[in-house]
Symmetry: C2
Subunit: 108 residues, 2 copies
DNA sequence: CCTGTATTTGGCAATATAGCCAAGTAGCCA
DNA sequence: TGGCTACTTGGCTATATTGCCAAATACAGG
């Protein structure tokens, strides 16, 4: 039988992973990595922030276990650890659509 | 053609929804509401925090469009707006398993 | 070895989040 | 009306996050 503490620990572990995704720049990174692996400089270009900022975003994703990094020569390449991450977006989108639909109903 | 601004706005909207889920107590709430609707006092009991704290968590979920509320008599009942929210957990779990697997490999 | 490029880390200021208590609002029932 | 229960909101403090600059580290090539 699981104790309350076990249950809390499980939800805390889940929250850590979800929190790691809860930032626009990190969602862009995830979307890019879903297409193919990228080095930090490419992601920096795409996001348009300071390299150090992007590097820190990547470390958040890495610490959460969402991405893997591999140093090749001068560069560090990142890729998704599991690809199902993208399934998130489908559901997020349907929340957004449901909200939009309900607001539409109010206006009419 | 979408501008960079449009793209950013989309990812910001997604991030708002995901961020609303990024807290252990709110994940517990989502899990409970997936079973059946609940009033604030029931959720407060389950979570074991101050009523005002739970109420604020619920307002975060409501503002994100994840839950709907309905006042019936003295109580306010909350329910999920879309049920696919639960799909998140499957993927989160597989991240956790992949991490565990890799750590296992290091130890061996 | 020296230089330039790629990346990470430390440090800091601005901002956001979390949780509690206290106070306010709303509906029920006597 | 008065009191009770359910819930939300305001206000506060503690803590976490974000993003920049500057400095440190790692590596490739001459």
């Amino acid at each position: 039988m699981k104790s309350d503490n076990d249950r809390l620990a499980l939800y805390e572990a889940r929250a850590r992973i979800i929190k790691a995704m809860a930032h626009p720049s990190r969602l862009i990174i995830i979307d890019e990595l879903a297409k193919e692996e990228r080095c930090v400089c490419e992601l920096t270009e795409i996001i348009g922030a300071d390299t150090s900022t992007v590097s820190k975003h990547l470390s958040v994703l890495r610490n959460a276990g969402i991405v893997l990094d591999e140093k090749r020569g001068n560069q560090v390449y990142y890729r998704l650890r599991v690809s199902c991450i993208l399934d998130f977006f489908g559901c997020v989108e349907s929340v957004m659509q449901a909200v939009a639909r309900d607001q539409m109903r109010l206006v009419r």
